[in-house]
């Protein structure tokens, strides 16, 4: 509950404040919470302004963090209709106590209540399979809500080598952490410099993961969402590491299950190996032999090894073509054109590059 305590020095203003936050916070439009003569305004669940009755000169009024002596909170202040309103440049922090002062005179204190939204969850860790090659390039963490945007993510992630019985450092530390736009999916790279043969980090520290070892990835329950609410629980994932994946995914060799005409049976393309979970969602397109887009949707199959296409209309007897973005990668970062760990000069001499690969089939 937001709390405001009347201060003796401001006798004319009497505060009696009772806020009913829980109900209001769940509503996404602008609401105001009123209590006596004091108002704390909310927008999208955030405390964005407060106001009090005020008839005097407001030039000397300032808002401070409780106990802060020098630096006032930045914001805009307005007066009108007998009220003083202060709007901070970022919303007031839940759980934080603030003070309104006139020069050195303390006029009021108020505390913003902690939000009571649902705790965030870790929905998935990709790859979803637990057996991975020793040159695994990246993992994704998919959360249910936007997560905190400050602090270092690696402080919440611990990797333990069960075989060596010690904690290990495997992820590349980046100043610009790689989140998606909604800040609910994090990309973590296993240090590419350690994966690429003979690079200095590879020589000095070796591979991040070792063939034959088992690992536990532990995600701390101290990791908070953007509103400061921690994960509902800690999470763990086991990894069993096998040998190096030194083959490019092969579109031609992928198993294609062609449906019958007149049905809406899903088309299935199975790579027989786990692929990048995020790239799998967006790398496929289906068109007719004449190049006309076929209505429907690709979905990713179990363990990210296959994709299914479910058509909007029944399949017709005709030629079809699956177009696949050549940037699609397997777990080791090998894409449809190149191995991740490759000699560039040899690569340039070798196969001609196309940004799109295709696989054709006919429904009779």
């Amino acid at each position: 509950m937001d709390v405001i305590r009347p201060i003796k020095s401001l006798k004319k203003i009497k505060y009696s404040l009772v806020f009913f936050c829980a109900l209001l916070l769940s509503i996404q439009c602008k609401r105001q919470k009123k209590g006596g003569d004091f108002e704390l305004s909310y927008q999208d669940g955030k405390a964005v302004a407060f106001s009090i009755p005020w008839e005097q000169d407001s030039a000397a009024l300032q808002v401070f963090l409780s106990g802060e002596g020098e630096t006032p909170v930045l914001g805009t202040q307005t007066t009108g209709d007998g009220r003083y309103t202060f709007k901070p440049i970022v919303p007031f922090l839940a759980g934080q106590t603030y003070e309104l002062r006139k020069k050195n005179e303390l006029l009021a204190t108020f505390t913003v209540e902690h939000k009571r939204g649902p705790a965030p969850e870790l929905l998935a860790i990709y790859p979803s399979r637990d057996t991975v090659p020793e040159n695994l390039l990246k993992i994704y963490l998919q959360f249910s809500q936007p997560m905190q945007e400050v602090g270092e993510v690696l402080n919440f992630i611990n990797v333990h080598d069960l075989t060596k019985a010690e904690d290990v450092s495997v992820f590349l530390k980046l100043e610009s952490e790689l989140w998606n736009k909604t800040h609910d999916r994090l990309t973590l790279w296993l240090d590419p410099g350690r994966i690429k043969t003979d690079l200095i980090p590879n020589r000095e520290q070796g591979l991040p993961l070792n063939d034959g070892h088992s690992y536990t990835i532990h995600i701390s329950d101290q990791w908070k969402n953007a509103q400061g609410i921690p994960l509902s629980k800690a999470y763990e994932k086991q990894l069993y590491v096998v040998g190096r994946d030194s083959k490019k995914p092969n579109v031609e060799a992928a198993e294609l299950e062609v449906p019958k005409s007149g049905t809406k049976t899903p088309l299935r393309l199975d790579f027989k190996e786990a692929m990048d979970a995020v790239l799998m969602r967006e790398s496929f397109h289906l068109q007719s032999g004449e190049g006309i887009k076929v209505g429907g949707e690709f979905t990713v199959g179990p363990r990210e090894e296959s994709v299914y296409f479910i058509p909007l209309k029944a399949w017709k007897k005709r030629d079809y073509e699956i177009l696949i973005d050549a940037k699609l990668e397997d777990l080791a970062g090998n894409n449809l054109n190149n191995l991740f760990d490759t000699n560039l000069e040899e690569q340039l001499k070798s196969n001609p590059k196309t940004s799109i690969k295709s696989r054709t089939f006919t429904i009779d």
């Binding site: 100043e175 068109q287 970062g333 799109i356």
Partner: protein, 372 residues
């Protein structure tokens, strides 16, 4: 007749003055700016261009914004800074606490010598602050004059791009303005890949994607995907170079005039500065007639290079570096400033930096280049 001549002369003068002012206006960098809310979603990197124009790298929107700060009152020197507990001060100004804020970048307006700070709070709200003496002030991000350009994915000539593919998110790792172009290095959140873009300013639809290749000493292989962590433009022997530094920490020179769209450019590695480290900021300055180059690092002290040493280093490093954590190539000096988190040139004679000191305190300080 005299009256006729008089009015004809006046008309001619008027036309000339209109023509002149149109011409001047036509060359103004902010001609295509619009006024309003640019809807900036994040501020990772900052850099100043001419005329007080501040470029903001917005990773969430994959967009570069140009903001007219109108902060163009010239000063020769910036304010001296020595503030302890600087993160506490920034947090207090935002009504928050240090664990709920992050200072993403700091730059100095080269005209006014004002220090600008990009700050993020825990819910992702981006904030732009500036220093007025030792006081912090908000720089509003709404109701401003601005232009913007979205960072598009490079599209191959042979790509079948008629179907809709989601845009890649490029985490912007560094941003600089140089001679009419905004230079941007970025890092993908999907494939392991990096881009280096050169974007003409004022913004048009044009943006070049340079394909950069770096030789890793001890690798025996060229590498195109290594992400540039920090870069600067330096002039050696009257030629501009992109000085790029990568994680783990090769320092590589690319001739700037060779960085063109679709052209694959090989860099010349001039130093390997040791593994287990990542560069943070790069600046240049002149002291006693000699040019120097400073690089701050996340796990090394600030390194000082002499321009003439770099210019005189004509080799390309291809030798194996076998010993752990050693450096090779261009000689440099380690300055006694570890854990410098942000750094920029304040004015002709001073540098400003934010540093985590040995006791864990975060300070912002200015220091004369005489002692750097």
């Amino acid at each position: 007749m005299k009256k006729l001549l008089f009015w004809a002369s006046m008309c001619a003068l008027l036309l000339l003055s209109v023509s002149a002012s149109t011409s001047i206006t036509g060359n103004n960098l902010t001609d295509d700016f619009v006024f309003g809310d640019p809807e900036i979603a994040s501020i990772g990197e900052l850099t100043f261009g001419p005329e007080g124009i501040l470029f903001i790298g917005d990773t969430k929107n994959a967009t570069i914004f140009a903001i007219d700060t109108k902060d163009v009152t010239a000063r020769d020197t910036g304010d001296e800074m020595n503030i302890k507990g600087f993160d506490d001060k920034v947090a207090a100004a935002l009504g928050s606490t240090v664990e709920n804020i992050k200072i993403n970048d700091m730059v100095v307006n080269p005209i006014s010598k004002t220090i600008y700070l990009a700050v993020t709070v825990t819910d992702g709200t981006p904030v732009l602050l500036k220093m007025n003496g030792e006081k912090l002030e908000n720089v509003p991000l709404q109701g401003v004059s601005y232009s913007k350009i979205a960072l598009q994915d490079p599209v191959n000539a042979d790509a079948i791009d008629k179907w809709e593919r989601p845009l890649r998110v490029w985490a912007i790792s560094d941003l600089k303005y140089h001679k009419g172009k905004v230079l941007v290095s970025g890092l993908s959140n999907k494939e392991f890949g990096s881009t280096f873009r050169s974007i003409p300013f004022p913004f048009t639809d044009a943006q070049d994607y340079a394909s950069l290749e770096v030789w890793h000493a001890a690798h025996g292989k060229f590498e195109t995907h290594a992400p540039i962590k920090a870069f600067d433009i330096i002039n050696l022997d009257n030629k501009d170079y992109l000085m790029a530094s990568y994680t783990c920490t090769p320092l590589v020179l690319f001739p700037l005039d060779e960085l063109k769209g679709g052209v694959h450019t090989k860099g010349r590695t001039v130093a390997e500065l040791g593994a287990g480290n990542s560069p943070v900021d790069m600046i240049s300055y002149v002291k006693e007639g000699k040019k120097y180059f400073l690089m701050s690092n996340n796990n090394r002290p600030v390194m000082r290079f002499k321009y003439e040493t770099i210019a005189n280093f004509k080799d390309t490093m291809t030798e194996t570096v076998n010993e752990p954590f050693v450096s090779r190539g261009v000689a440099y000096d380690n300055l006694p400033f570890p854990y410098v988190l942000q750094m920029d040139r304040l004015d002709e004679g001073n540098v400003v930096y934010i540093q985590r000191t040995a006791d864990g305190d975060m300070t912002i300080r200015t220091r004369t280049t005489k002692w750097m």
